[in-house]
Symmetry: C2
Subunit: 330 residues, 2 copies
């Protein structure tokens, strides 16, 4: 899906239910995804385009791109008038102040996303963290529903998670769930400045990058590395196995500390299905002793969880706005 | 303090304040500690004796020993009549059912501590986990007070922690805070059946044991290993350094996942003071990049935190009992 395209999102989109029409934006390391949701909770249109990278002006470029998309949606669907927008981004996000504190992949520091987006759209904006928003979508509408203590991990370009404790999302002041930057090995170097971070070993991007570094063979992504491992390519097997080892080790720490009932895994790597989940569970069983192994479950909403989470947040803001007009953001 | 002795517990004991008189027992891997607290919140008597180890009958032996001590307290202090008792033990504890599910150091499985102790004492009994009770004492009366997100770790015979999230103790169904059994190295073997667990590398007991294994020299404890490291003993330095490395690595995982504001460290190893806290903070700074390094703080209540936590729990049960006599446990 590289341009505007009608969306078919099954369970998740149906699950949004009746409410305000909203705009939703999920800014990823590679793509910017946008959705227009109507009052029935249907995704009227979903579009994806490359995230505009402009060094330390990426924040401005992102807001400008979202405003362009909002205008396109307005022209294409004049009957759907959004009451609020949701904008979610990666990195360290301060939801209270609406500021993108830092993203090592996208380059901003202390960029006031909520204020700029509010000015650009002319409607109230909910600003949040991409993985936490995706986690909330999985928790409210997807695979994490029904658990009290559950971690929702996204493994794609990066690795991060949303932690639900006693049924409530725990943000840790915007800094919790950064298991992608837990040290699990002696290397390689990570974009964060660390060494041997989980994300540098086992993210989908790292699996592709490390395979190419080892074999000299360029690949389109982790999916291709897995396909090569399946056919007996020893370099691909080595990279895939080391990624599984690193993920299992990190999960074992999460289990020791938090004892979650379940770990829901989404993001590109989860598309490997049983080839990921079965050996991961085996490795985790091999590390754990007396601890309960959490259920390892594939995310159900999948790659659109971030934008759906952004829509959920936007609806919260719209509802709060309607309830308290005196505190209007506009 | 090896027999009955008057206690002087400063801040902590004063901090208990007015309330019901209670009995409090903290069953450790080595010692069983008991306290009688009066209505002013003073520890009238505190006693410590070896934990009675009787294989798979250790649960019964522990309850019998606590009943003996209760009788001794009754004879010695007839004017202090406890309204409830608090009993805390290590391992996997199910607080709801009052059952000690499992302790790898003490050998019980599914032992109904609360029911047996209630029958033995004739007063209501609060049953809980030693480290979580100690953590609550530090949270309510000690070094963890004032933080919303804080981990209280006890490093002694074993390693475990109490996790406070948004100001509330998180138990994870009795299984959270077992970072002592996070794998941080390739070895040595751990009592839990695992390999390279933090507890097998960096607990006070492991530091002494590993030093003796490496050097052939028996030592009384981790304190002596540190003293030898200080005088240039290379084996002692190697063991001490590897313990610090393991603790820093484990803390870095905790920080990535939970981003606590502070980590309070108690237990025997915390008595090393700056020789523990300064190099630990340096090592943690060396691993972390964008993450906030939590304040590393020595526990204030110290070695009696478990028994004081047990007293706090006993007072809760006594208060609940007074409020709802129809639901009396007696």
């Amino acid at each position: 899906m590289n341009a505007h395209a009608p969306a078919d999102h099954g369970v998740a989109a149906d699950g949004l239910g009746a409410g305000d029409a909203v705009l939703a934006f999920d800014v990823g390391g590679t793509d910017l995804k946008a959705a227009l949701v109507d009052a029935d909770g249907r995704i009227v249109e979903l579009t994806r385009r490359p995230t505009p990278l402009a060094g330390d002006r990426t924040g401005e470029a992102v807001v400008a791109a979202t405003a362009d998309i909002a205008a396109e949606f307005r022209r294409a669907h004049p009957g759907v008038v959004p009451a609020a927008a949701g904008l979610v981004v990666p990195g360290h996000v301060d939801e209270e102040t609406g500021v993108g504190v830092f993203s090592e992949n996208l380059g901003w520091r202390d960029f006031p996303f909520r204020d700029r987006a509010t000015a650009a759209f002319g409607i109230p904006v909910a600003f949040s963290h991409d993985v936490r928003a995706a986690g909330e979508a999985e928790y409210r509408l997807g695979a994490a529903a029904g658990f009290r203590d559950v971690v929702v991990m996204a493994i794609g370009t990066g690795i991060a998670g949303a932690i639900f404790i006693d049924g409530t999302l725990f943000t840790g002041g915007g800094m919790a769930g950064e298991m992608g930057h837990s040290r699990v090995a002696d290397g390689p170097d990570c974009a964060c400045g660390g060494r041997g971070c989980l994300e540098a070993v086992a993210s989908a991007a790292a699996i592709a990058r490390r395979y190419t570094a080892l074999s000299g063979v360029p690949v389109a992504g982790a999916k291709e590395v897995l396909a090569r491992a399946r056919t007996g390519d020893p370099a691909a097997q080595r990279i895939w196995d080391s990624a599984l080892d690193a993920l299992a080790l990190d999960l074992s720490h999460t289990v020791a500390l938090l004892a979650p009932e379940a770990v829901v895994i989404g993001g590109g790597l989860a598309q490997a299905g049983d080839e990921l989940f079965v050996p991961l569970a085996q490795r985790l069983d091999g590390i754990l002793t007396f601890q309960r192994r959490p259920a390892l479950i594939a995310a159900r909403i999948g790659e659109d969880a971030g934008v759906i989470g952004a829509a959920l947040r936007a609806r919260e803001v719209a509802a709060a706005q309607a309830a308290e007009p005196a505190r209007a953001v506009r």
